[in-house]
Structure formats: C-alpha cells, structure tokens
Amino acid sequence: MTLQRSIAFVDLKQRTAAAAAIAPGWQQDFLGGRGVAARLLYSRVCEAPGPALNDSVRILSAGLLTGAAAPADGRARLMEFHPGRGLAAELTGGAFGAEMRWAGFDHLFLLGQAAEPLYIWLCDGKIEIRSAEALFQNRDFDGATAIRRQLADDRIQSIEVTDAAGGEPFLAAACRGSLGLEIKFPRPALDYCKTLINTTACSVHLPVEGPAGRDLARVLADCLGTAPKNDVSSQGLTIGADALVQLLRLNTGWKTAPEQLWEAARRICAVERLFCLRAGIADNDAPGVCSGAAVPPAERPAYYQAQEWTDSGVPSERLLRRLGIDSLRFQEV
C-alpha cells in the first residue's frame, strides 16, 4: 500500500465528478481518514475563492490502515458540514471504507446537495453519478438493498448520506472494488497484525493527560481506521503509538515515530479548530467533530493549554509554525 491514493470529488449541483490524487505530503502531515478530511474541508471551504461557506460538504473517508494488514475494521467516517447547522461526524457500519479503497479511493468528497434522487457509484477507479429514481419503484427495500438488487451484486457496500433536514430527496454512495492495496512487507505485516490481534491487554501511553490526550488518541484512531468498534467513552486507542508506527512501516513503508504521530494528531486538531473558527461554528454545533468541542466549559482552560492553544481556544501562532501550518492561522478580533 503506497501513500499515493486518490480522492473522488463530486459536485452534486453541477453533476460533475473527477478523481484527484491526495496532495503530496498530506498523508504524512494528516495521516488519512479524519485528518485528510479535515484538511480537505479547510482547503475546499476556507481556501476556495469566493464565498464557499454557503455550500454543504460531505466527506466519506477511509483510514490509512483500513483494508490493510492491521487490526482496523472496514468502516468509513462521514463528516458533514452544513452552513448554519455546523459540523457532524459518524463512523458508518459495514465495510464501506475498505471497499472504497479496493475501488481505488480513500475519500469521497460531495459538494452541495442533490436535486433529485442519486447515488454515487465508485468502481475500480471510476466515479459515476447515477439516477436513483429506478431504485424506488419497489419501495419494499431500503436504499442499500435496492442498489444491490439493481446491480445484482451482494458484495456492494453502500451508505445513505441524504441530508433529510436540508430537504434533499435521496443520496447514497455505493462502491465495489477489485483493485489491490499494495502492502510494503506483506508477510511480516500479516505476522505483526496477528500478534496484535492476539494481544489482549495493551497499555496506551498518551502524550498529555485528560480530555486533550483522549482527543488526540481518538484523532489517531479515526485517521488510521483503528477505532475500537464498541468504544463510546474510552480513550479511543487500543493500540499504542509504537505499534501504530510499526504497522505503518510494514504496510506502507513509511518510517515514522510516535512523536510524529502525536504531532500529526495535534495538527489535525488545530485544523479542525481553525475550520470551526473560520466558519463561525460554535462548540455546541460540532460536538465530537471539532477537537475540544465536547469539553465542559470549566475544563476548557486546561484543555486549551494542553493543546497549546490561546486562552480563547485559538491554536497559537507558535504551535502552527511548529506544525508547519502557519499559513492557516486565524486572526482573532
């Protein structure tokens, strides 16, 4: 699995689709999954020419180790931004993330809203915008079943992403892939993965204590696709950063270090925070999506300090310089 992966861009208003490579260096800086999605959101909304904050954006992302020789499940993370309604995110069930990678894409970026029932079809490097009208001639089925029946393939993975609150008719993403993910060191990667699966107890050392440490761990898990399936309130990582480094080296050939991974997590938290500040999203409108949004007000000063943000919750210029993202800074007024 090399780090040269692709994003499928779909403009639902214009009904256009295109594939593009993930920007060079993004995967080292933002890993995958949630991290690249956050950078993508910032890039396409905040850095786009003109008033881009008027469009809704949905991003389906697979983790950097999704579908690889790693204790990662096949889920995808759906991040949604709707103007005036804030940010939301969820891990979706099934194996959509893994199938999307086998179909040739790590992310699906959806801009705007569909005006008629549609589904996006991703298959072996191809992106198609298809009418979903025919799917509902027989209303006995849910969207996923209808797509599988229409295409006569039980292995299709699909997710409905309809923005019902925004009045969107029906929108789903469906994928099926037969492409391969290159594994840099196949047999050692399998052996190491097996060792981790057999390890029942694993101590995870966090770089900072408290909610900030838990947020950083959660970000890493969301970026790599290793979030525990039944995790609701724990610290988010069941695999230590040392083991993640080893998994990344064996699967992708990328030699990194635990400190670099934690710095990447800080970078992602900072970008998410900057996006919310730029888009005017209050903490309450992005719980669990923007780092720190779910922290109770009384604990925020300590959280901001642990994240190296200012007293008002803005990532400091010094931090942004250290993380190499000082071009994204937010000017406090």
């Binding site: 699995m1 579908g67 096949g74 086998w102 039980d154 037969s178 391969g180 594994i183 699966i197």
Partner: protein
Amino acid sequence: MNPDAILVADPDQCNGCRLCEIACSIQHTGLSRPALSCIQVHNTEEGFFLPVFCQQCADAPCAAVCPKEAISRDAATGAVTIDGDRCVACRMCVYACPYGAMGFDAERRRVFKCDLCGGDPRCVAFCEAGALCFDDAVEIKIRRMNQAAQRLMRGAVPAA
C-alpha cells in the same frame, strides 16, 4: 502437517469482517485484494454471512474436468492443488466447482484456489470471530457432537 485436517466454517459465528479475505490475498498475492482471495465471504440480504472456500473434495469435479490433468491432490497437506505449468486457464474447473470456490485472475490469466497455505491456513489465524476452524475431521466431528449435545440439554433443539 495433517492430510486429514479439514477447513470448516460456522456461518453462525461469522460477522462478515472479511479479515480472512485480506489475510488470504496478502498471503498469496502480496496485496490486500479480496477479489483474488481464495476465501470469499458471501453475504445475503438477510445479513447471513457464509465463508466460501474449496472443500478439497475427495472426488474433486475441478480435477475430473481438467483437460490437462493440472489439478491433483497434495499428499502431504491433503489440498487439491493446481500445477501452474500444466494449466492452460481454460476455466473448466471454475465452471465445474459446485461451490463457486475456484477463482480466475483475469490480469494474470490463471485460475486459483485454496491450497490450505501449505497446511496452515492463514484465514483461520485471522478469524477473530472463531467462525473458521482447521482441524482433524474426527476432532471436528467430536466437537460438533458435543455442541449438539449441549444444545439438546439446553432445550434449544426441539424434540423430534
């Protein structure tokens, strides 16, 4: 190595995670590529997962139909294996297999099937749900018999 060992799946335990497909394809091709995995998890609309793989049939239809006698049994592992040098990729074996367990790699123009990883199937090692088992046929029979007895004792099986 036990030539009498068999690979079996318990669909009730399978959760459809497909780690077996990932492990198998990496083991045999170096890629995570379930399309070329010798084990495939078939799932139905009802949410039923069935791992499908070669049953290493005693009177294997794939071997019987092969015009080049490229398919034979490995005496050491008990697996029905393909001799790549003899195979002409006519795909008669793909058609003949009653389980749909033979695969065809269109890029490399070759058929493929489960070879039990030389006697230590990788898919079993990665099945966290415990749906796959590779053991002596007699041992498996005894285990299944015990499971059936326990179900009867719990009253889970209605009396005939």
